[in-house]
C-alpha cells in the first residue's frame, strides 16, 4: 500500500487530507511540525510527502533540505501545500527540489488528489 506522509500543523487540514487520501486507498501518516516530520522520516520511508511550509519548530524549507540531504530519501516526491503565495517562496521550494507547489486556496482538493495519483501511476514514481 502506498504510504503518504502529511506534514501539516492545522488540524482541520490534516483531517480533510486524511479523509480524502484514505478514500483513495492510501495509508497516511501525519507529522504536525517540521521536527516531527524529520523524526518520522528517519524511522520510515514514505512514498510521497505532502509538505506545508509555515509550521511551528522547523518550517517546511528545513524539512525539504533534510529530505534532499538524505541519499536514501531524496528521491521521495515532495508536494508542497502552502498558502505562501509569493514567487520567492515558490521558487525557493522548487529550487530546493520540491516536485510540485500548490497554493492551497487556489486549488481544489480533487486536483491535489489527482496529482498525487499521477505520481503513483506515472513516470514520477519514486525510485526505490
Amino acid at each position: 500500500m502506498n504510504n503518504i506522509l502529511i506534514v501539516e500543523d492545522e488540524d482541520f487540514l490534516i483531517r480533510v487530507l486524511e479523509d480524502n487520501l484514505a478514500a483513495e486507498g492510501y495509508a497516511v501518516d501525519v507529522a504536525k511540525n517540521g521536527e516531527q516530520a524529520v523524526g518520522k522520516m528517519r524511522k520510515c520511508k514514505p512514498n510521497l510527502i505532502l509538505l506545508d511550509i509555515l509550521m511551528p519548530k522547523c518550517d517546511g524549507f528545513y524539512v525539504l533540505s533534510e529530505i534532499k540531504k538524505d541519499p536514501k530519501r531524496k528521491s521521495i516526491p515532495v508536494i508542497v501545500l502552502s498558502n505562501l503565495g509569493e514567487e520567492a517562496a515558490i521558487n525557493r521550494a522548487m529550487k530546493m527540489g520540491a516536485d510540485d507547489y500548490f497554493i492551497k486556496s487556489q486549488h481544489k482538493i480533487e486536483e491535489v488528489i489527482k496529482r498525487i495519483g499521477n505520481y503513483f501511476k506515472g513516470k514520477k514514481m519514486p525510485k526505490r
Partner: protein, 400 residues
C-alpha cells in the same frame, strides 16, 4: 506689469549694493529648507560645490567649508541598488550639467503611484544611507550655470516598506489558511467521501462554497493590489509570439465562456508578431479583459479578441456585446473596489479590483488601457503596447 518691473529693479539694486545681505538671506533659506533632514547643495557648471546647508552636513558628515570647491560627485559617491558605484558619466548631475537632461525628479510616476528610485550615498566615514534626490539646473539665458541638488535619507521609509511587505506576507498566509480549509472541507463533503447528502443539503453547501470562493478571490485581489503598489516595477522580459500568447489566454477562459454559451473568437490575422514583454503580466491583463467580457455578457453572445499592429503600437482589444458601462460611471471603472451599478446587479460577486489591478499592471509594462462602452450594447477594452519599449516585430510576408 509695471509693478513687477519695479520689483525686479529693486531686487537687482539690492543685489548690487548689498550682496552680503543677499548671501546671508540665501544661507538662511538653505538652512531653513529641510533643516537637518534634507540636504541642499549648490554646484557651479563644473560640478564644484559652491554652498550647502546644515542638512548636507548632518547627512553626509562633511562640513561645508571642507568641501567648497570640490566636485560634488567625488565628495558623495553614489551606489545603485546592487551596491555598484555609479560612474561619473552616469550620474544625473553630470548629465544635467552637460545639458543632456533638464531636471531629475525624485519620483517617477509608475502605476499612478509615486515611486522612488533607490540608491545609496556614501558618507564621509564611508558608511552609506539610502537616499532620494531631486536635481535642478540653474539656467541663465538658456545655458546651464550650475545645479542645485536636494536629497534626503530614506532609511525610515525603507524600514516601513519592509514592515509592510512582511505584514502582507503574513496577512496573506493567515487569511488564506482558514479559507482554503473551508474550501477543502466543503469539497470533501461534495465529493461524497463522507457519504451522500440530500439535494437540499447539497444546495446549501454549494452556496457556502460560492461565498467562500468569493472571499478567496477578494483576499487574493486585495493582496495583489497592495503588493503591486509596494513593489518596484519587476519586469521579466521574454519573447513570445502573439499567436501562442493569445492561445494560452483564450484557453484559460474557454470553460467559463462555454458555461455561458458564449462564442469566443480569437484574432483572424495571420501575422507573425513577436512581443518582448513580461508575458505573465500581459496574460493577466488580457485574462481580466476576457473574464469581464464573459461575466458581463448575456448568454449566446460573442466575445472577440483582436490584435492589431500599428507602426508604433500593438493593440489588443476585447469586444463584447454585454451590458456595457453606464456613461456617467465610465470615469470610475478603474477605481479600486468600484463596480458599475448594472454590473453589481448582474453579478453580485465581483470584487471591483480586476480593472484596478489590470491598470496597475499595464503601467508596469509601459502599456495603456482604454475602452469604449455603451450601456446595453457592449464594451471594447484596448491594451496598447508601445513597440519601442517592449516589442520587436517580424512580419511574415507570405501571410500578409
Amino acid at each position: 506689469m509695471k509693478k513687477s518691473e519695479d520689483a525686479k529693479q529693486t531686487e537687482q539694486k539690492r543685489r548690487i549694493y548689498n550682496p552680503e545681505a543677499v548671501i546671508a538671506e540665501q544661507e538662511a533659506i538653505l538652512n531653513c529648507v529641510g533643516d537637518h533632514i534634507m540636504a541642499v547643495i549648490v554646484v557651479d557648471k563644473k560640478g564644484k560645490i559652491i554652498r550647502g546647508n546644515k542638512g548636507f552636513e548632518a547627512l553626509t558628515g562633511w562640513e561645508i567649508k571642507e568641501v567648497i570647491g570640490k566636485s560634488l560627485i567625488s565628495v558623495i559617491p553614489r551606489k545603485d541598488e546592487q551596491m555598484k558605484t555609479v560612474p561619473f558619466k552616469k550620474r544625473i548631475l553630470s548629465k544635467i550639467l552637460l545639458g543632456k537632461i533638464l531636471a531629475s525628479t525624485a519620483t517617477v510616476a509608475a502605476g499612478g503611484i509615486e515611486k522612488m528610485p533607490i540608491f545609496y550615498y556614501i558618507r564621509k566615514d564611508k558608511s552609506k544611507f539610502p537616499a532620494t534626490s531631486v536635481i535642478s539646473p540653474m539656467l541663465f539665458e538658456g545655458k546651464v550655470m550650475g545645479a542645485v541638488e536636494v536629497f534626503y535619507d530614506i532609511t525610515k521609509e525603507k524600514e516601513l516598506e519592509q514592515i509592510r511587505m512582511d505584514f502582507l506576507s503574513l496577512a496573506s498566509h493567515q487569511l488564506r489558511t482558514p479559507l482554503s480549509g473551508t474550501k477543502w472541507l466543503i469539497e470533501t463533503m461534495c465529493r461524497g467521501v463522507l457519504g451522500e447528502m440530500t439535494k437540499k443539503q447539497k444546495e446549501y453547501l454549494d452556496d457556502i462554497y460560492k461565498v467562500n470562493e468569493q472571499l478567496i478571490k477578494l483576499v487574493s485581489d486585495i493582496l495583489s493590489t497592495l503588493r503591486l503598489e509596494s513593489e518596484e516595477p519587476l519586469m521579466k522580459k521574454e519573447r513570445i509570439s502573439v499567436t501562442s500568447l493569445v492561445k494560452e489566454v483564450m484557453l484559460t477562459v474557454s470553460a467559463a465562456a462555454k458555461e455561458k454559451k458564449l462564442t469566443l473568437k480569437g484574432p483572424s490575422n495571420h501575422r507573425t508578431l513577436n512581443l518582448k514583454t513580461d508575458t505573465e503580466i500581459l496574460k493577466s491583463i488580457l485574462g481580466t479583459f476576457l473574464a469581464n467580457a464573459i461575466d458581463y455578457s448575456l448568454p449566446d453572445r460573442k466575445v472577440v479578441l483582436k490584435v492589431e499592429s500599428k507602426s508604433d503600437v500593438i493593440i489588443f482589444s476585447v469586444h463584447d456585446s454585454g451590458i456595457g458601462i453606464p456613461l456617467n460611471e465610465q470615469k470610475r471603472v478603474f477605481e479600486r473596489f468600484y463596480r458599475a451599478s448594472n454590473a453589481k446587479n448582474l453579478r453580485p460577486t465581483g470584487t471591483g479590483l480586476g480593472l484596478n489591478i489590470a491598470k496597475m499592471l499595464s503601467d508596469k509594462i509601459g502599456a495603456k488601457i482604454s475602452f469604449k462602452s455603451k450601456e446595453n450594447k457592449g464594451s471594447v477594452f484596448y491594451l496598447h503596447i508601445p513597440k519601442k519599449f517592449n516589442t520587436t516585430i517580424k512580419i511574415n510576408k507570405k501571410n500578409e
